[in-house]
């Protein structure tokens, strides 16, 4: 049994699986159910100033893909719509009842120092383990100068983080918005402001679908729709890249990362951790299936770590970071070609038509007495992997390494690089 205990910026939890700040963490009732199910921690649904916000009716949109429900999810909800004192009272109670679980409280108040100075001691008084500054919410709150309106201006990120560090001894997590051209800029600002950790990603600006009868975006509120925040399995690749960018950025200096975005199972979580995440946060998967999913997250991560011989999370955290590089540092001499296992081929022809119509005409189609046969033409194959991805049979198409005996050569070193040609002339 591996040791799943997690320590991120001094906040500890029995396992790295936290619920992200969202409806699953809006009330004592939900959070207690989550802790009973085994979640290692929560980031309480974002608190704001009283009077609480008011939400609209019709709040969520979803992308269903080929029969899969909620491949992507979006919402136009605001922060908690319950009074501050009710939330604080419940946070205090839950932390007292569940002392081993991580209790981080998400906050969003106007961009004024007094506002932060006023709320932070109230949170501290509950015994919470840390705060997370919600600089990410991309809808509604941003129109009021909060959320991503702060997260998109690095100077504000740094300033508010600094205020918070000044007014509390609790660890400060800064939750970043992905709605920026370069996530490193706000991440570095958070670091400069003294943040103890960053959490990412918050949701992505989105319109998930258009109702073609009503002629309005969904979720539709009485005939109109506003852009909302996108999350769920569809955003995981975007989140992974942003986590990796921060993890490998020298200026960010190895700031602890709480990874978020489309995490649905232990494997997703392990990928975030391999790219440097300490804890991981989950929202959509829990909203889709309920809290019980944490059981397989814990169990699956444990079994995988045992198989790999990893005793603690630190044994593999960030292990993939050194292998994330820029394109120019890839090996130009690496060669692979597709290989079709004729035994497991079911003759769907998808590899052929994909390569034929859209790539390199490297898979031939033959018909012998009505029997179809698809074969790779090695000389034409550029090793793009397209056929392997479209093949519906696991393991039928693999990419075979061609041992050409050539050394590792980057684009910078490549004689075909125009820069090198000039130099040679």
């Amino acid at each position: 049994m591996a040791d799943l205990r997690c320590n991120i910026a001094g906040v500890t939890s029995p396992n790295p699986f936290w619920l992200a700040s969202a409806p699953p963490t809006d009330k004592e009732y939900n959070v207690v159910r989550a802790f009973k199910a085994g979640w290692g921690g929560v980031v309480w649904k974002t608190l704001g100033e009283d009077p609480p916000v008011v939400n609209v009716s019709s709040r969520y949109g979803a992308v269903n893909y080929n029969g899969q429900r909620v491949a992507g999810f979006n919402n136009i909800e605001l922060i908690t719509d319950r009074p501050l004192d009710v939330n604080l009272r419940e946070i205090k109670q839950v932390k007292r009842d569940w002392p081993d679980r991580a209790m981080v409280v998400s906050l969003m108040v106007p961009c004024e120092e007094e506002a932060w100075a006023k709320i932070l001691p109230l949170v501290e008084e509950t015994g919470a383990d840390g705060v997370e500054l919600n600089f990410g919410c991309p809808h509604g709150m941003s129109e009021r100068g909060m959320g991503s309106a702060v997260g998109q201006v690095p100077e504000y990120v740094e300033m508010v983080t600094r205020w918070c560090k000044k007014h509390t001894r609790m660890p400060v997590f800064v939750k970043l918005t992905p709605n920026v051209t370069n996530v490193l800029v706000p991440a570095r600002a958070a670091k400069a402001g003294g943040a103890d950790a960053v959490s990412l990603i918050n949701t992505i600006n989105s319109i998930v679908t258009v109702d073609l009868d009503v002629m309005a975006p969904t979720p539709t509120v009485n005939g109109k729709g506003a852009h909302g925040g996108y999350c769920g399995p569809a955003v995981k690749p975007i989140a992974l890249n942003m986590v990796a960018e921060i993890a490998r950025d020298p200026e960010c200096g190895g700031i602890p990362i709480s990874g978020i975005g489309g995490i649905s199972n232990w494997r997703d979580a392990a990928e975030f951790m391999a790219l440097g995440s300490g804890s991981v946060q989950v929202c959509t998967a829990a909203m889709h299936y309920g809290f019980k999913i944490v059981d397989d997250m814990i169990d699956g991560l444990n079994n995988w770590m045992d198989d790999k011989g990893y005793a603690t999370l630190d044994d593999f955290r960030g292990a993939a970071v050194p292998n994330v590089c820029n394109w120019k540092d890839l090996d130009m001499n690496y060669e692979i070609v597709a290989q079709i296992d004729q035994q497991s081929c079911i003759k769907c022809g998808l590899c052929h038509i994909a390569c034929e119509d859209t790539s390199h005409q490297a898979i031939s189609a033959a018909k012998d007495n009505g029997a179809r046969r698809y074969e790779v033409i090695d000389e034409e194959c550029v090793g793009c992997n397209l056929c392997m991805h479209v093949c519906p049979v696991d393991g039928c198409i693999t990419m075979r390494r061609i041992d050409n005996g050539k050394p590792y050569m980057t684009w910078t070193e490549d004689p075909r690089n125009p820069a090198n040609m000039e130099a040679a002339e």
Binding site: N66, I346, K347, C348, L350, A365
Partner: protein, 449 residues
């Protein structure tokens, strides 16, 4: 002991009849159709297309279901097969499209193509639209003999191509075996007539029922009165057992009994034996056996003279009969039907085996099976008489005694085409539709010359 044949009507309650003869495969709802449609890989050069006798572009129609373009899906189906609705219900898909599905190789579970085809065509039928239009009129007329799948498919396509069509149908209703032959639970709720109405709603096709070739009209008259003739009048003959006792009361041709069953307004009024013996190994044998059982027969025994693998009924059909409580006995042939007071009482069978040359022979050992009713289902034959009556020229027949045709379904008479069960090939609804469609295009080419 005096034998009293136990043949009776009303063995079941009306609810039981209703349940036994309702849709054997209930339709897919939208959700299930979408899940099933998402299983299609949209194969390149898809093997299922090749396996469909009418060549429906299956991946395309399934993709259209997946995108909720259900009308477009139905049109893709009906373009190749105007009886796509009936075929979705009656095709032995396990030996056609679904057998070719690549998912069989992968997981022994093909995409449910038939059920999806039904989902799409039902959608269009429910809307009551005829999606096709007629081309500019050619001024030509074509006579079609027989209003079954072959004749109607030919008529619809000819009308689309701009020709006027007169269908001469011997029976009181068009539809052919869809109306009089297919098992009742495969085409419930008057589907056959709804489909006929749908086909005729294109216009340009008039159906003259009660007009029999060879009796009311002759081939020469049709050839004189029309620019071309299509023959699709199916199989009128039934093979006889050729053994003693065949004329006893209680012995019937399966196809005749099924025709009565299909036309019955009250299934409870149909007589059926307590003990039924069916002789034969094709789908007709399976259909009569299962329908007897579903009418309330207590013991139904189907006896076939060879092994399970030799039956022309598909494995799926055999299994269906067995799960319906039909007992199937292989390797036995009828020797004589034994009666009392002119009524059949039991059937004596002789065990069979293959001799060294692979020919079927009796072993000499016998057994008897009690029977109140015996159904003969050992094949149908083409009866050429209607062609001869009153016609000077006779068209060529094949060795197997059906109408000889070329690839275009053209007979030895240049202005006469034929298709469906009356020509060689698989006796299937879908094959008949394909014949009709191919002949229509060939006729169109000939008429436009």
């Amino acid at each position: 002991m005096n034998h009293v044949a136990d043949i009776a009507a009303g063995r079941l309650t009306s609810d039981e009849y209703a349940a036994n003869f309702s849709d054997v495969h209930p339709p897919l709802d939208r959700r299930r159709a979408l899940i099933e449609a998402s299983r299609c890989y949209f194969c390149h050069d898809a093997p299922c297309i090749e396996a469909c006798p009418t060549g429906i572009d299956i991946p395309t129609f399934i993709t259209k279901i997946a995108s909720d373009n259900v009308r477009g899906s139905a049109v893709s189906i009906l373009t190749e097969n105007i009886m796509g609705g009936a075929c979705a219900r009656v095709c032995p898909v396990e030996i056609l499209c679904q057998e070719a599905c690549v998912r069989n190789t992968q997981e022994s579970k093909p995409v449910q193509i038939g059920a999806l085809q039904r989902y799409a065509t039902d959608h269009l039928f429910d809307k009551g639209v005829q999606p096709f239009q007629r081309a500019d009129l050619s001024g030509k007329t074509v006579a079609v003999v027989g209003g079954g799948p072959a004749g109607l498919a030919c008529a619809h396509r000819l009308s689309m191509l701009g020709h006027d069509v007169v269908v001469y149908e011997a029976r009181g209703k068009a539809g052919g075996l869809n109306e009089y032959g297919i098992a009742a639970y495969k085409l419930p709720d008057s589907f056959a007539q709804k489909e006929v109405d749908f086909i005729l709603s294109l216009g340009g096709i008039s159906v003259e029922t009660g007009k029999s070739l060879g009796e009311d009209i002759t081939l020469s008259q049709l050839r004189q009165g029309h620019d071309a003739v299509f023959l699709g009048f199916g199989l009128a003959g039934v093979n006889a057992l050729g053994c003693e006792g065949e004329d006893l009361d209680g012995v019937a041709n399966a196809v005749d009994y099924i025709a009565d069953l299909r036309q019955a307004t009250d299934l409870g009024a149909l007589n059926v034996g307590r003990r039924v013996v069916v002789i034969g190994g094709g789908n007709t044998a399976i259909d009569i056996a299962v329908q007897s059982k579903r009418l309330g027969a207590e013991d139904v025994t189907l006896v076939y003279r060879r092994g399970a693998e030799h039956m022309s009924a598909t494995g799926h059909e055999q299994e269906f009969a067995q799960t319906n409580g039909v007992k199937i006995k292989h390797w036995a042939q009828p020797k004589r039907l034994i009666g009392q007071d002119g009524k059949v009482k039991e059937v004596e069978f002789e065990y069979t085996q293959l001799d060294d040359n692979g020919r079927l022979m009796g072993t000499g050992d016998t057994f008897t099976v009690l029977a109140d009713m015996v159904f003969k289902a050992i094949g149908q034959t083409f009866v050429p008489a209607p062609l001869r009556n009153g016609s000077a020229e006779m068209l060529e027949l094949t060795n197997s005694g059906r109408i000889a045709v070329n690839e275009d379904r053209q007979t030895s008479l240049a202005d006469v085409w034929a298709g469906g069960d009356c020509v060689p090939g698989d006796d299937l609804t879908v094959a008949a539709v394909q014949d009709g469609k191919l002949a229509a295009h060939a006729i169109d080419r000939a008429l436009r010359g």
